[in-house]
Structure formats: C-alpha cells, structure tokens
C-alpha cells in the first residue's frame, strides 16, 4: 500500500491539474478575448461623419473641428495656475477639481480638462500651451450646421451611453452617435466605419509596438453624405413664420411623398446642441415644459383634425354610395343630435357636397356621416368599413416614414366604442363628432399632410420620407417608391378636390388666394380642452389648415396645425398660403400678409392656462 500511495498521489495531482487547465483554457476561454486583452490597446481612427444636404444640394450639416484640453496628471509640473486658468477661461476651483478628478481616474492616462474649445480659443491657446507641461490639445470633430432650422428633422448627436454600449459592440465609450432625427435614422450611413489599430502594451501601459505587425488593423471607412428631401429655404421660411406659435407644419410633394418641410414650433437652433454649452442648453430646452421645444409637434402631436377630416368622410360616403355630389342636406344653423342642437357657422340653408366643403357646414357632414351608417344593418359593420377606409389614408397607424419617432394617432373602431358604451349601445349619433373631425379621431400633422397628398393624388400616396440620396446616388427603396392606394375610387376625388378649390374661391379661405396659383384647401377650427388643476377647461380653438396646389398636377401638399390659433383661416390658413407661394413662386407677393404672420405671436394665448386667473377664449386677435 505504501508503494502505490505516492504513485496514486502523483496521478491524482496530474488529473486535477489537467482538469483545472481544461476548465481555464477550454471552458472559460472566450474567443473574442482580443477585446478584453489588457495587453492590446485599440486605437481608433475615426472617419469624418457624412454631410447632410437639402433637396437642392444646399449644405445643411457639416463638421467642424473642436479642441479638448487634455491633461496627464503625472506629467503636470508646478505651473502658474492663475495664468493658465485665465488662458482657458475657467475659474480656479473648476481647474483644481477637474485636475483632481483626472488624477483619481488615472494619473497616467489622459483626461479631458476642458472640453470643446472653439477655433478662436484654440488659436489663442496653441502657442502658449507648450509652457504648461502635462497638458496638450486634442482635436475632435463636431457637427456644424449651415442653417439655424430643421433641428427636429436633422436631430443631434451625443455621446453613447451604457445602454448603447451593451447593445452594440461597435461603439466604444466616449464615441458620438446620432440620438434623434436623421442623425439617428441614418446613423450607420453617416457614421462610416472607424478604423482600428492594435497596439501591444506592457503592464505599465507603454506602447511596445504594433500587435501582430498590424495584420488585424483596419482602415477607417468614410461616412457617406446624405441628401434629404427637405427644402432648406422652405424649412427656414416656415420656421420663421412659426415664431411664437405652437404647432406643426408639414409639406409633402404628393407625386413622390418627399417631405419638403417638417416644422415644429417652437424649435431651436441646432447649433445650440453642439459645443461646450451643449448640456446647459439641452437642460434649458428639455425643462421648458410649456413650449416643449424638443417635442417634435409635426410628428408627435396627436390631436383632433377638425374640419379637414370632413373631406375624408365625404369620400367614404361617396364610395359607399351614401351620397352623390348632388345630395342636399339642410342646415338649420346647426343640426340635432337627439334633442341637443350642435352649432354650425356656415350660415344655414341647403347644402350639397360642394358648398358643404367650402363653407365647412357641420350639419351637412353630420348628415353625411349618418347616411354612411344607414347603409349598413348595424353600426358595428358600418364602423368596420369606415375604419378600413380611414386607415387606407395612413391614419391611425405609424405612417412608416424614416424618422425615429412618431405617433399612430387614432381612428376609433367598434372595439373602442364597445369598451366605452357597451356592445350595441352606440350608434352614428353617439359618435357623430367624428363626422366633423372632433370626437375620438386623432391625427398628427404629418398624417394630415399625407392625407392631403392622397387627395391631391386623387387616391394614392407615397410613404412620406426624408431620405433622397445616399452619397449622391438616388435611393430606390420600394417602401418609399411604391404608391399606396386608398380604398376610395379615383372618380370620387374630383368633386371633393373641386370643393376644396372653392374654399379658396368663395369659401372659408377666400381671402388667402394667391394670384396665379389655383389652390385647394380646407380650414379647420378645432375645439380643444386642457385640465387646469383637475378641471376640464376649454382653450381657444386650434387653427388647422390643409391645402395642395396647384389643384391639377399638385406640387405641394401641406398641413398646418397651430395650437390655439382660433379660426382655421387665420394662423394656419395664412401660413399655408405663404408657404405654398414661397415654394411655388420662390417669392412672396403679399407682403402685408407675411408681415402680419411674422409679427403676430400667440405667446399670450399660451400663457393663459398658466396664469392662474380665469381667462377668455376665442378672442379676436386681429
């Protein structure tokens, strides 16, 4: 027994060792250990981010150099702190605390002392920098905006966060990525691919040469430039008109679905989110909870569409044979729902499709809506048909445009009303408000514009989008180039379009005609409510306008939604009219109109609910 004991121990130890080694080298081994290897430093070579141009080739976004003052704490020699701080334009406390922070992070590695100096500051600093040992200046690239508008569409870039790092291994801490808008949507195109050099290090973090003679290294791949469908001039002009107004303006080229302008008011200068003041500016914008400049109303504000929605109800009624263009309905300065009378501003009298549209007669469309429902044995069946038609205009769904945020809006369906009223406990009368675009239906400005484009095209639309070219090449994404047909026959569009044209000729927007351009439009004046201290309070009506022009072969379809702007023909109508003229003519002939729009703001109106006092609504502003 004593003879074999030693041999057994030797064998046992051998087996234990091999077991442990196989655990370490076979089971714990991770194949991408080159990423974790402390002996290999990865040095990235960042390609320049792609530029962004507008539809006419005008530069929107480019890059600018910025300069970070870096410090390696271990190499800092005693210095004239005061002189240095003056040079950098920071106070001494900040300098001391930043230096301490850097030392805690690592005495040996560089840390940012002062981030993102401007070119001017850099020029001043550059020559004097040598006097201060342990400090140096590192160049990096920031976005440069050749416009002060379009912040909501273009989006901004910011440093990647932990979540990005976990989800996407191609990002490294401290890198920038598109966070909103086009910058986010087309991140992979704009970004390009960073090059990487592997450097062999020793345990003191000193470089001791390339790893594997650089065979694993890659070259950076340039980011591609992008051309967007936005018209820079139109976008800038629209934002100027929107000064002091809350709301969204969306202009679309009906023939292609290209978004010409996507305006959210109020907005901000995109350059605010670049450079040293970035976080300060961002907090300011982010915490402005009244005007919410970072909230893109053009695609996120889901509200009642108001009267423009009447055109769709008319189309559904025509399609379902509930009315013909000649069908007349009498308006008693309003209409009755049961015993309750609902008002109408059209002046009363007998209305047909044409006058119903251009005078925006509530009674006519309430009647039309009832007629649709009378076509079907049950309200639920009628609702299904109605819902199908409405959804074919891109309402009630995310449209599928190429921006990273959105709202589906709401087209109510039978389940929705069954939930509220109970099965078979509701009828066309219950939901009659939807006939005039109030009630439960909700749309976003971009949906309104898209719906208008579908009417302009007499029955089809192209998914709205902002991408036009990548690297100078026209895109061919079937999602954007294939027409989406509505469920309404083409022939029914002409009388509706005709009625919309009359809106300008003798209807609610007759004063907004542009000489030489035949426009079709529809006003909307939308009742809206808010809660003030828990009490439902009515606010001044939202001013809504949709239009397309020219009536035949339309070049632009536009939706304007101005919160608390009162009549549709006022703010929204004016802005739509000016935008169309600007886009089609390139200049404004009605200077007085333009002047009024540039000067009038609604700030007072927006301050009312926050005043704490009782206030009047729907006052005449001019």
């Amino acid at each position: 027994m004593r003879k074999i004991l030693l041999s057994s121990i030797i064998l046992l130890v051998g087996i234990t060792f091999i077991g442990r080694l196989s655990y370490l080298q076979i089971f714990s081994f991770s194949p991408n250990q080159i990423l974790e290897d402390p002996a290999i430093k990865k040095v990235y070579d960042y390609p320049e981010r792609g530029y962004i141009y507008d539809r006419n080739g005008e530069l929107l976004v480019a890059n600018q150099p910025a300069y970070d003052v870096m410090v390696i704490p271990r190499e800092v020699k005693p210095l004239d702190t005061l002189a240095f701080c003056n040079l950098l334009g920071i106070d001494k406390e900040r300098f001391v605390s930043q230096l301490k922070k850097a030392r805690v992070y690592s005495p040996r590695l560089p840390s940012v002392l002062v981030p993102q100096l401007s070119k001017e500051d850099y020029g001043r600093l550059q020559e004097k920098m040598r006097r201060f040992e342990g400090f140096y200046i590192q160049k990096r690239s920031l976005r440069y905006y050749d416009t002060n508008s379009g912040a909501n569409v273009l989006g901004y870039i910011s440093e990647v966060n932990e979540w990005d790092l976990e989800r996407n291994p191609s990002y490294a801490a401290g890198e920038l990525k598109g966070t909103t808008g086009i910058e986010k949507e087309y991140e992979s195109i704009l970004r390009g691919r960073k090059g990487v050099k592997h450097i062999q290090k020793d345990r003191f973090n000193r470089d001791i040469g390339p790893y594997k003679d650089g065979t694993l290294d890659t070259l950076p791949e340039q980011g591609k430039q992008i051309t967007v469908t936005i018209d820079k001039l139109l976008q800038e002009y629209g934002e100027k008109l929107m000064t002091g107004k809350h709301g969204g303006v969306v202009a679309i080229e009906p023939a292609t679905g290209e978004i010409l302008a996507l305006i959210s008011g109020p907005t901000y200068d995109p350059a605010l989110l670049v450079g040293r003041e970035r976080s300060k500016n961002y907090s300011k914008l982010h915490y402005d909870t009244i005007s919410k400049p970072t909230f893109d109303r053009s695609i996120l504000a889901s509200q009642s569409p108001g009267s423009p929605f009447k055109t769709l109800n008319a189309l559904v009624a025509l399609q379902e044979g509930a009315i013909t263009p000649e069908t007349t309905i009498h308006c008693y300065n309003g209409f009755y729902v049961g015993k309750r009378k609902r008002g109408c501003h059209c002046g009363g009298g007998s209305r047909n499709l044409n006058s119903g549209i251009y005078l925006s007669c509530n009674a006519y469309f309430a009647g039309t809506f009832r007629k649709i429902y009378d076509q079907f044995p049950t309200s639920a069946e009628a609702m299904d048909v109605w819902e199908k038609h409405m959804k074919s205009f891109g309402l009630g769904t995310f449209l599928g445009y190429d921006l990273p945020t959105g709202r589906p809006g709401r087209i109510p369906n039978k389940e929705y009303y069954n939930r509220i009223y109970g099965e078979k406990r509701w009828s066309s009368s219950t939901i009659i408000s939807n006939s005039i675009g109030q009630g439960e239906v909700e749309v976003t400005p971009i949906q309104l514009a898209n719906m208008t484009a579908a009417i302009a095209n007499r029955g089809h639309y192209f998914t709205p989008h902002v991408l036009k070219k990548i690297g100078g090449e026209n895109i061919s994404i079937p999602e954007f180039t294939k027409a989406k047909h509505t469920t309404i026959d083409k022939k029914h569009f002409e009388p509706v379009a005709h009625g919309m044209a009359e809106v300008y000729k003798k209807g609610t927007a007759s004063r907004l005609q542009i000489e030489g351009i035949e426009i079709a439009g529809k006003t909307g004046t939308v009742e809206n409510f808010t809660r003030i201290d828990g009490v439902r309070t009515q606010l001044t009506d939202n001013s809504v306008f949709v239009a397309f022009a020219p009536v035949d072969n339309p070049k632009i379809a536009i939706a304007v939604y101005i919160e608390n702007g009162y009549f549709g023909s006022r703010f929204a109508g004016h802005i739509a009219s000016l935008m169309i003229e600007k886009y089609l003519k390139g200049e404004i002939t009605r200077v007085d109109l333009e002047k009024r729009m540039l000067e009038k703001t609604l700030e007072e109106e927006y301050a009312k609910p926050y005043s704490g006092q009782p206030f009047k609504i729907n006052e005449r502003v001019w």
């Binding site: 081994f29 345990r203 001791i208």
Partner: protein, 429 residues
C-alpha cells in the same frame, strides 16, 4: 572506475533522460519567449536571461558528465560530508549572504549567484537515505524516527529566516521517504488532520468544526457494531484537542500570520464572500495569480503561438521567467502545451517511482524517494499556484524556471539517482 563509461550509458534510464531533456528544452523555449524583446532576439547573447539560461544548461550538461563518471558509491560515502557542508553554507549565509528581492539566499560568486538551499536539497536527500539505510537504524524505533525527522528539519529551519519559507517547505516533503520506509501511518494522518482542520476552521469557524465533528462522532456511535467498545477517554481527549487546535488556528491566523499570508489564504479559500470585493482582491493582492490565470486562459486550446503571447510580451505576469514560467506555456501553447508539460512531469515522477522500487540497494531506493518527493513538491506547489488552485508559495518549477542554482542542482539531484540506478546490477557483484 569499476564501470566503463560505455556501460553507464547503456544502463542509463534513457526514458527519464529523454523527459528531462524535453522539459529543459520546453522550459528554455518559454524563458526565451518571456524575456524576449524585439531588439534582442539573439539566442546566444549572454547578457540576456535566456542566454544565461543557455549557459546554465551547458553547465548542467558538464555536471551530468561528471556525475555519471564518478563512482556510484561516492555519493553514499560522502553524503554526510555533503550534508554538513550544506548546513555550513546555510549558516554562512547569515554572515556572507547576498540579498536579492528581500531574501538573503545567495552567495555572490561574481559570475554567478549560488543558492545553497538548492544544494541542501540534494545533500539532505542523500543524508536521509544514508541514515535510513544504515544497518543500525530501525524506523520502528522512536529515537530513529526523531533523528530522521531532525535531518529534514535542521536545513528547513536554517532556510526559514532567510526568509524563504517556500524552499523550507520542500524539505518537509522528504517525510514521504521516511514514510515509505515504515514510519507509522498516524504521523501522516495527524499531518493531514491538522491541515484539514486548519482549512475548515478558516472557512467555517471553530463552532461549526466542533459541531460537525460532534455530529460525525454521534453518527459513528449510532452505526457502530454493538460489540465495539468505544475508548471513551481517548476519544474525548482527541475531540477536546481538535477543538483547542481549531481555536488556536484563529489565533495563529490573526496574530502570527502576516497580512500578506492572510491575504493569500483568504483569496485561496475564497473567505471573502462579496463577489465584487473578491474580484477586487483578485486584482490587487492576488495580482500575480490573477494575471497568470488570465494569461493561461487567454491561450485557449491551441495557444497564441511562439512569441505571440500578448500578455507575456507585455510583462503582465510578474516573475514570469522564474516562478510563473508555466503561464507562458499556457498563453503561447494553449491547453496542448500545458497538458503536455503536466503529462511529462507525471510520466517522469511515475517512472522514478518505478526506478526507485526496483533498487536492490536500500540507499538507492531511499534516495530515489527523496528525489521524487522533492521534484513532486516543487511541481505540485508551483503549477498549483500558477493555475490558481493553491495559495501563492514562491518556489520554482524544476528544469523549467529560470535560475542557475536551481537547474544545476535539480539536474544533479536527478542524475545522481540515475547513476545509482544504472549501477544497480553492480551492487550484486
């Protein structure tokens, strides 16, 4: 010379020699890799460590020739003298020793630093074999047991204050030799028990050790044959002794051990339960082991290739060419490499056991066991430490680690035995 050189070569155990050559060769390749720099690639540059090691290999080759050429009974005859010389050298260190890295373990011979503790290993193995094989010695006698243990302990206690507890520990492995020759089993059992209780106390505390031991006793009393009479008083005494020892463990651990020892044990036994803190300790106090484990792990199945070990190049593993040389094997040659080395050591040790057992001469057999014990303890503790299954104890890997004295005396240790083995047939005549 009673045996011609030719017949020595013929009777030499070439299997062991072959493994020896393989280990020295693989070791040198890895020393070359771990000390390699781009600007100093030459093999024969004696300013570089791998160049020096090559010189030591040459010296060892000369030593082998001399050892094989000398008469076999030379070693037995002069073993006492060697032992006394080695003790004298160890004592002399207190006066003339050269301090390297905090340990006064070397004589400065100008071109070469001699580490007498390496020599003492050979001498003690010889002296122990000589004493035990003496016709007058009876290992069943307590006095002889004590003397033989003393032969081991004296050099160990001379080495401890250098301080070099790692090398001192090696001498305790020679207990195996005495054990093989008939030292009663309870010595070993007590040793194992002491180690076990020590570890268990650290991990679970005295109270749990007492409770578990009590439960085991109760279980034994329940299951025992009714006819078996329990010696109540001795069992109680042993139980009390164990509990007292367990109590003393805490005292020794907290008051006698230094912080670095506590850290090593704490890390080894995972006494820190918070995984975050444990990771922190691994990266600071357990830095060496952490880095060597990571280096080995990063080698994977097939390794990164010769001179391609990034962590080796970056010098991430401290003392990589000496005590941690095995991590280079792990990183550059992968599991294939490490398994090969473990198998080579295992084969060599088993072969030596076989050789020792076939000796007719008691001295040769006992010396053989001495060689095996010393080689085994080095191999066991070194690789165990490098792959993180044993606490950090700094002793080199035989034939592998960089170091002249080490290589020379490990070679001498092995080849004296191979010479004795080659000569075994002459013993009969």
């Amino acid at each position: 010379m009673s045996v011609s050189g030719k017949s020595v070569l013929k009777r030499l155990d070439w299997f062991s020699v072959l493994i020896y050559i393989s280990l020295v060769f693989i070791g040198w390749i890895n020393i070359y890799s771990s000390t390699f720099t781009e600007d100093n690639p030459s093999i024969f540059n004696f300013a570089s460590l791998h160049g020096k090691q090559l010189f030591f290999i040459g010296t060892s080759a000369v030593a082998i020739i001399i050892i094989l050429a000398l008469e076999a009974n030379f070693y037995e005859r002069f073993s006492s003298l060697f032992y006394i010389i080695s003790l004298a050298l160890l004592l002399g260190l207190f006066v003339f020793g050269k301090t390297i890295a905090g340990a006064t373990s070397w004589y400065d011979l100008g071109f070469f630093n001699l580490q007498p503790s390496e020599f003492a290993k050979v001498a003690t193995a010889l002296a122990l074999a000589k004493y035990l094989s003496d016709i007058q010695t009876d290992i069943k006698r307590q006095k002889d047991q004590m003397v033989s243990i003393l032969i081991i302990l004296i050099p160990a206690f001379l080495i401890i204050p250098q301080p070099d507890p790692g090398s001192a520990l090696v001498f305790f492995a020679l207990i195996f030799v005495i054990f093989r020759e008939g030292l009663p089993l309870y010595y070993l059992s007590i040793g194992v028990m002491v180690i076990l209780i020590f570890i268990l106390t650290l991990m679970f505390g005295t109270i749990w050790v007492a409770i578990i031991l009590g439960l085991l006793l109760a279980l034994f009393l329940l299951l025992k044959k009714p006819s078996f009479k329990v010696p109540v008083i001795p069992v109680t005494l042993i139980y009390v002794a164990v509990v007292l020892f367990s109590l003393s463990v805490n005292f020794v651990y907290n008051s006698v051990f230094e912080q670095r020892h506590r850290d090593r044990f704490g890390l080894w036994l995972r006494l820190e339960k918070d995984p975050k803190k444990l990771e922190e300790i691994r990266k600071t106090i357990g830095y060496n082991t952490y880095q060597s484990e990571k280096a080995i792990e990063s080698g994977g199945k097939y390794g990164k290739g010769f001179l391609e070990g990034t962590r080796t190049k970056g010098d991430f593993v401290p003392e990589q060419h000496t005590d941690y040389i095995f991590s280079t094997v792990g990183e550059e040659w992968g599991f294939i490499g490490t398994a090969t080395v473990v198998i080579l050591f295992t084969l060599m040790l088993l072969r030596l056991v076989h050789l020792a057992e076939r000796q007719k001469n008691a001295f040769s057999r006992m010396y053989g066991y001495g060689v095996i014990s010393i080689l085994f303890i080095h191999y066991f503790i070194n690789i165990g430490m490098v792959i993180g299954v044993l606490p950090t104890i700094g002793i080199p890997l035989p034939f592998f680690s960089y170091g002249g004295s080490g290589l020379l005396f490990f070679t001498a240790l092995l080849f004296i035995f191979l010479k004795l083995d080659a000569n075994r047939l002459n013993e009969l005549t």
